[in-house]
Symmetry: C2
Subunit: 355 residues, 2 copies
């Protein structure tokens, strides 16, 4: 059996007993029922994942997954392809956006190369998981072979396994870096949702109106040419996806198999997450959506996966920045469940109980 | 001159030079322009308030303002009035929702009594600012006299001044506790917005459909009876407001006068904040909206004040819980501005500069 199918089969069910216990405790806390909204939902699911009402998440990781994209030859991005590799070095130097926000959240950033068009020094402290130096230009040919699509996902699974072998991991946030990668992400949700590409395409790093309609036309033509099969997520990934998107899919599946909650970041991360949940619907129980990206296609991904975003701060950066911020919200949610006292623990009248 | 008008006149303009410097730095950071959305806006305004690009907010306070409401005699709330005082003790014991979320945010909770219907022991470590033991039932008579409305606002100003006399204060989050206080809050936004009360009234701690229409009818009748003058915020506060709402208005004005940023919490806090900005429009520059409450009237308050909520987590608890959570977002925003490196500080091609 392949690593991928073996890992999918290993995803454990979350603990329904702890879920119910959590809901009970939340309902009995000295405050109006339901008044902490999404913090309550999140805390109950974390309790079910971690099998305790006092969930602690000290070991948080952001896995920023990098890859390059042949589609940039069609002029779909404002930044040149070299920026992908340059940003990998920037992540390692610690001055990038994700370093700053992860530090604030108490999370460690780790970078994985699934397909950057650059030869990194082998001693560079990243996960060296390169499948190829960038995808093919999917306007002209499939982005990658079916074998490479599976290899990218399995490389993501291996990345999670290797981190877990080194040290405890309580939560993983996904992140991405890849010039041009809003195009494959948009193509992926277009294939699954069947919504016309014009309604799904957005400006990425800042395209103008002409750039935007060109990008939509390129993606539309590519989908028509390759006709990816929406019932076969690997086919979708191979025809219009990206290596880092496959890596992210593998990270989601690998984390779920180890019982680790995952925070999915924005458009690109959620494209990978969507590949994961289409392959392994049970992974959804371990998933949290960090935020609602400005990129229009993101909302359709979240709605297909059926998860609510925790934040909506008009962000559209990627790297894992939304995931890092949302870690602080999930941390707070764990404290809500564990620490707010119940009506029984304090002496306050509960109107709902009395009525 | 009264303390109120004196304090309003003292509100300093924020520093436009630091605002521009912040926008410059944000625009030059090694990431797509505008990609960190509301974090950027917030960090620039904090820079203008604090006159530095490296804003630090170590001394954070949540001021939870308590008061009782005669309107509960009309059956507009599910909880009995005694709960207001009981919750004050719960806040002091440290097991309430606001204690838990403030602790997570590194903020200190202080409680102020502006009008609880209970005689607290003088040695209780709260701000003893009681105007009266609860408002009048504003269904039948004005909630309070004009003098008492001014006294409540000035008591809020004094509260800020007293905290600042003791120790440095970098940020204040507002909070509330008062059984029945969604009714005066809803009445206040109804008077200012002139939107029909049926569109503004919500379920508070959990009213059913009958309770909801009864509550709307009570508020509607009260507004028709007293005809508060929307051009006179003190008249509005006195006729349909509450003591803790006046206290919150004073806290907002007092904090702005001292150059301290304020995070406004949900429906009740924002009712107080609205009274403040109607009296002192310049206070708006110091204001941040913590979250979008589930309570329907809240969005109209935010839109009248013209501020965007940072969070939207389906919360409707009050106490300052949204403000506490949002403090973590504002803290992160300060790090975004100070720590993310610019294109000049790293060697990455900037497509926007080159084009």
């Amino acid at each position: 059996m392949s690593l991928l199918s073996e890992t999918i089969q290993k995803i454990p069910a979350i603990d329904q007993t702890f879920y119910e216990k959590a809901l009970d405790r939340l309902a009995n806390q000295a405050r109006p029922a339901g008044s902490l909204g999404m913090l309550e939902d999140a805390s109950a699911r974390l309790a079910a994942i971690k099998k305790t009402l006092d969930v602690r998440l000290p070991n948080k990781y952001i896995l920023t997954c990098a890859g390059d994209h042949g589609i940039v030859a069609e002029g779909v991005s404002l930044f040149p392809q070299e920026v992908t590799a340059q940003m990998v070095y920037n992540f390692l130097d610690g001055g990038a956006s994700i370093n700053v926000l992860a530090k604030h959240a108490g999370a460690r950033v780790m970078v994985a190369d699934f397909g950057v068009n650059y030869e990194f020094e082998p001693e560079l402290p990243i996960f060296h998981k390169k499948i190829r130096k960038g995808t093919n230009n999917f306007f002209k040919e499939p982005a990658m072979s079916r074998e490479d699509a599976i290899a990218a996902i399995e490389a993501g699974i291996e990345t999670v396994n290797e981190i877990c072998d080194r040290s405890p991991v309580d939560m993983i946030g996904t992140g991405d870096m890849g010039i041009g990668n809003t195009s494959p992400s948009t193509a992926i949700i277009a294939v699954f949702s069947k919504i016309p590409i014009q309604h799904l395409t957005d400006r990425g790093t800042g395209l103008d109106d002409n750039g935007l309609s060109h990008k939509a036309a390129v993606i539309d033509a590519a989908i028509k040419r390759h006709a990816p099969d929406a019932d076969d997520p690997i086919d979708v990934l191979s025809k219009v996806g990206g290596y880092e998107i496959g890596g992210i899919a593998g990270i989601v599946i690998g984390a779920a198999a180890k019982g680790i909650p995952v925070l999915s970041d924005g458009l690109i991360s959620t494209a990978g997450t969507l590949i994961a949940t289409e392959l392994a619907p049970t992974a959804r129980d371990y998933l949290f959506a960090a935020h609602q990206s400005v990129e229009i296609g993101h909302q359709y991904m979240l709605s297909r996966i059926n998860i609510q975003p925790l934040l909506n701060l008009n962000m559209r950066l990627g790297e894992g920045t939304g995931a890092a911020l949302a870690m602080e919200i999930l941390d707070a949610a764990t404290r809500v469940l564990a620490e707010i006292k119940t009506f029984d623990e304090v002496s306050i009248k509960n109107a709902h109980k009395e009525s």
